[in-house]
């Protein structure tokens, strides 16, 4: 029977940078190990398959109170999630997320970047954030804030060459992420400035 085991409470979705996790409060039964199973439902399931639910096998009979749902929230539509507790043959009622979740609601953090001066060259190192992300890198010569260049970086390789600097000049850089699938951008990272090394060439 299902009545004895309470449904999980405080069900919520934590979503940052297109990584989505379902969490819930543990169901406590003295001296016993409670397990949980998670299912999801997209807009397609609500409209075309009578509101059917699809189990997430990695989160079936799990003892964790967290489930990585990123792989299944893979379209920009409204999803619902539900979780129930299981103890032997006893199952609780389903606890369902309140309202809908769309990946467009994910919170986007500014990219982590490191700006380097290599001789006369301005280079930037960007931390890889996964295939959904591209980067808008803005750079300018210090003191000429009105003349800003932009470079769109779609695939993070090791280092990105931004520009060749004038000797002794200082260049400043900041960047934001952009996610095409949800058409949103993060806020900008803090600005970082580097100075080109002075001219080392000499006439003999």
């Amino acid at each position: 029977g299902d009545a004895l085991l309470p449904a999980p409470q405080s069900i919520s979705i934590l979503s940052t940078n297109m990584k989505h996790f379902l969490t819930w409060s543990p169901v406590i039964v003295q001296g016993a190990t409670v397990r949980y199973s998670v299912e999801f439902q997209g807009e397609y399931e609500r409209e075309y398959t009578n509101g059917s639910w699809i189990p997430i096998s990695e989160c079936s009979l799990t003892t964790a109170t967290l489930c990585n749902i990123t792989e299944d929230i893979s379209a920009t539509v409204a999803y619902k999630l539900r979780v129930r507790a299981e103890l032997g043959a006893t199952r609780s009622q389903w606890g369902t997320t309140k309202g809908f979740f769309s990946r467009a609601m994910t919170s986007l953090t500014p990219p982590v970047l490191r700006v380097l001066a290599d001789g006369h060259h301005v280079l930037v190192e960007l931390a890889d954030m996964g295939p959904s992300f591209q980067f808008h890198v803005l750079y300018w010569k210090k003191g000429q804030e009105s003349r800003v260049w932009q470079k769109v970086v779609k695939e993070v390789s090791s280092v990105v060459h931004l520009d060749t600097m004038e000797a002794g000049a200082e260049y400043c850089v900041k960047a934001q992420t952009h996610v095409e699938a949800i058409n949103r951008s993060s806020s900008f990272s803090p600005t970082q400035c580097v100075r080109a090394q002075g001219d080392t060439s000499m006439w003999l």
Binding site: G42, I54, I56, S57, S74, A75, T76, S132, E180
Partner: protein, 145 residues
Amino acid sequence: GACRVSMSMAEIRAGFTAIKADIQSRDPIRTLSILSHPHSLHKLKSSDRCCITHQLFTFYVDKVFKHCRTEDSFVNRKISSIANSFLSARRKLSQCHEQNNCMCGEESREKFKQILANYEGLNVTSAAMKSLGELDILLDWMEKS
């Protein structure tokens, strides 16, 4: 004006690639094609491209995905992922259609009529599974033309 619809082709392609072998193994009738019989999608005029894309997305959303439920949870999850992506893209295509930016010529109407005839020539589960198994034909055509 033109009809510009942004959709994550890479995500759809990745989802389909993950289940392609499984889905195609469930299609015993290898001699028939739903999308390519008698003519390939590539023969269509580019002016008909938007309309046939809209019709095909409607075809997959309305007729195909819901008849492809399997006993395999992984396959079902990937089908759900593709179906929800198609639903999202179809909505944008429908908006284009309503704004008369996605007009249907005679050729695309004929082609879509043929696809429906191919589909209705089989029992619904076989037809749906075969159509899903041919998704890469549609994706290739969308990316190449």
